[in-house]
Point group: C2
Chain length 149, copies 2
C-alpha cells in the first residue's frame, strides 16, 4: 500500500525543494557576472553547445520562450560572435543556429565557474550526503520529464 492519504506530505516536500532550487540558483547566478553575457544568452548557448545546431524555433521551444524573444537572444549572441545563423538548404524559412568555437569556450568557462562554486559549498558534505544529492537530482529530472504537458 503506497502512501495513500497519509503520505509524507508531498506538498511540504515540494515546497522545500522549490525553495532549495531558488536559493541554489540565486547563489550560482552571481558567478555569471564574469561571463559578460546575460542568463538567457548563457542558457541558450548551453543548449546549442550540448544539443548541437538547431533551428531558431527548436531553440525557442527548448528554452521555453517565444520566437521573438529567441530572435533577440540570438542577435545578442551573434553580436558577441558566440553563435551564428546558417541558411537551411532544405527550407529557406528556417534558420539553423550554431554555437561558435568562441561560444563553446565561453560556455565551458562559465559552467566551470558555477560548478566550482557549488562544489566548494558541498565540500563539507559526507560521501553519503553527496550520493543522496546525486540521486535526488536524477529523481527530479525524471519526475519532470514525465507528465510533461
Amino acid at each position: 500500500m503506497m502512501s495513500r492519504g497519509k503520505s509524507p506530505d508531498r506538498r511540504e516536500i515540494a515546497d522545500r525543494l522549490h525553495s532549495a532550487a531558488i536559493h541554489l540558483l540565486r547563489h550560482v547566478r552571481r558567478q555569471d557576472a564574469h561571463s559578460g553575457i546575460g542568463p538567457a544568452q548563457f542558457s541558450a548557448l548551453s543548449v546549442l553547445v550540448f544539443g548541437g545546431p538547431m533551428t531558431l524555433g527548436q531553440l525557442a521551444a527548448a528554452e521555453q520562450v517565444k520566437p521573438p524573444t529567441m530572435t533577440r537572444i540570438l542577435t545578442g549572441l551573434e553580436r558577441n560572435r558566440l553563435a551564428e545563423r546558417i541558411r537551411d538548404p532544405e527550407d529557406a524559412r528556417r534558420l539553423q543556429v550554431r554555437a561558435t568555437a568562441k561560444g563553446a569556450r565561453l560556455l565551458h568557462e562559465g559552467r566551470r565557474r558555477r560548478i566550482n562554486y557549488l562544489a566548494e559549498h558541498f565540500s563539507e558534505l559526507s560521501s553519503k550526503e553527496l550520493a543522496l544529492l546525486h540521486e535526488a537530482a536524477e529523481i527530479v529530472h525524471r519526475a519532470l520529464r514525465s507528465t510533461r504537458h
Copy 2:
C-alpha cells in the same frame, strides 16, 4: 571510472543538481503567469509575507538586488496594492515595507499553484524517493547557508 573509488565526483554531482534546479524552476515558473505579477515582485512579496515588515535596504539584501532595483519592484507592488511603504519613526531616512492583506492572499495563491504543480509531478514517486528529496532539500539549504561569502 570517473570516481577514483573514494569520493564520488563532487563537481559531477554539482552539475547534475544545478541542472535539476534549472529545470525545476523553469517548469514552476510557467504557473506564475496566472498571478499577474512578475517573478521579482512575487519573490520580494514572499520575503515580506514570511519575514514580516522590513526596510527597503533589508529587502534588497534579502533578494540580492541593489536598492534602486528594489525601489522599482516596490513601486510595482504598491501600484498593485500588494505592499506599502511606511514611515520609520526612528529614522526618517528609512522606509518600512509591509505586505498588504491582498498581497499575502495573492502570494499564498501563487505559491499554492507552484507547489501543487510540483506535487503533481511527484505523484508517481515512492515514499522512499520523496523522503530522499526532502532530505536533499535540507542538505542544499544547509550547504548554501554555511560558507556564505
